[in-house]
């Protein structure tokens, strides 16, 4: 009944390498499972290379097209170099979010360690690519054009802070949505069980939280897909800044 219990980590395969804890936890297992499922969908199911795609292949192909269009729209044709990164992030987050809907599974993306790592990968990719491609011109990102010189220092400071905000908002958005959604479902599910225990007609009131749980389930499914989409889209926008700063 504890709504937080679903997020606790447990060691499934204790492993110690040179004094460091490398145990296989439930989190690590579900990450590996997500990677395996993504590989199954995008490598094995497309392997036959059929001209008329089967079901799984057409799913994989439409996801590919969807992300390819997103990258082209947000970062231009030169952004397609980062298509593998964006596609991997999108598929990993999507599958992790969806796995979490199966009862008794673990939602990897409800832990901020995971989402922060993904967000920092994007953040440092933007920094490294930005400086490698543009050199000092990348700093123009922080100096918007057409700002009076008197307020320029203030604006630059605000721009720098807003740049540093990116990994935080990027990771917290995904993590908080998944965490809150799963707690919500668990709490309302707990209400169903508690109210079923009431005597006589009281047990019928359990229908109310049950209906709410069903409705929230649909909402959370939307949120799970949408958060993967938002994460990938913002990755494209940030990469666009790295490729074309000072627009």
């Amino acid at each position: 009944m504890d709504p937080i219990h679903q997020f606790s980590l447990s060691k499934w395969l204790p492993l110690d390498v040179a004094g460091r804890d490398f145990s296989l936890t439930n989190s690590a297992f579900y990450m590996l499972l997500a990677v395996a499922l993504v590989a199954l969908l995008t490598i094995v199911c497309v392997d036959r290379n059929a001209t008329v795609p089967g079901r799984a292949q057409s799913v994989a192909e439409s996801l590919y097209e969807f992300i390819a269009n997103m990258v082209r729209d947000a970062a231009g044709e030169s952004g397609m170099k980062f298509f593998p990164l964006v596609f991997s992030l999108f598929m990993f987050i999507l599958i992790c979010n969806l796995i979490g809907f199966i009862p008794y599974t673990f939602t990897v993306t409800s832990h901020i360690v995971v989402t922060a790592t993904l967000a920092l990968i994007v953040f440092f990719t933007v920094l490294i690519v930005g400086f490698a491609k543009n050199g000092a011109r990348f700093l123009k990102l922080f100096v918007p054009s057409g700002v009076p010189i008197a307020v320029l220092p203030l604006v630059v400071l605000i721009e720098v802070i807003s740049f540093l905000t990116r990994p935080i908002s990027h990771s917290v958005r995904l993590f908080a949505n998944m965490l809150a959604g799963h707690i919500l479902l668990k709490v309302f599910g707990g209400f169903v069980v508690l109210m079923l225990g009431l005597k006589g007609f009281g047990a019928l009131t359990a229908l109310l939280p049950f209906a709410a749980t069903v409705a929230f389930m649909a909402l959370e499914l939307l949120v799970a897909v949408l958060q993967a989409y938002v994460f990938a889209m913002l990755t494209c926008m940030y990469l666009n800044d790295a490729l074309h700063p000072g627009h």
Partner: protein, 108 residues
């Protein structure tokens, strides 16, 4: 009496015409389905924008506050930098949201 060759040609033409008109109707319904789908995508896009705005607002305040508290802790100037960077962070978050909202919507 028309010869059988002519007759089968006419029948073939009729069948071809029927087929192409069916194809056109099918294409039109596909297009409208695609349009409906992109309409649904716009709702998703709007929700995505909402999530983005909310988290950027909060993120700005959090990052500004953390920088301020960190500087104060480091330089021992409590609470000067905390106040200044909290406000700057809130400004940055708000500015991000405003900039996003000012972008022309629609288009492609």
């Amino acid at each position: 009496m028309p010869d059988p060759q002519d007759q089968s040609d006419a029948a073939m033409r009729a069948r071809l015409e029927r087929l192409s008109s069916e194809l056109d109707a099918r294409k039109a319904s596909d297009r409208s389905a695609a349009a409906r789908q992109s309409g649904g995508g716009d709702t998703g896009g709007a929700m995505a924008k909402g999530f983005k705005a909310a988290s950027e607002l909060v993120g700005g305040i959090v990052v500004g506050g953390l920088i301020g508290v960190g500087l104060d802790y480091w330089l021992g100037t409590k609470p000067g930098f905390s106040i200044a960077f909290f406000l700057l962070g809130a400004g940055a978050g708000l500015w991000n949201v405003i900039r996003d909202a000012m972008k022309p919507t629609g288009g492609a």
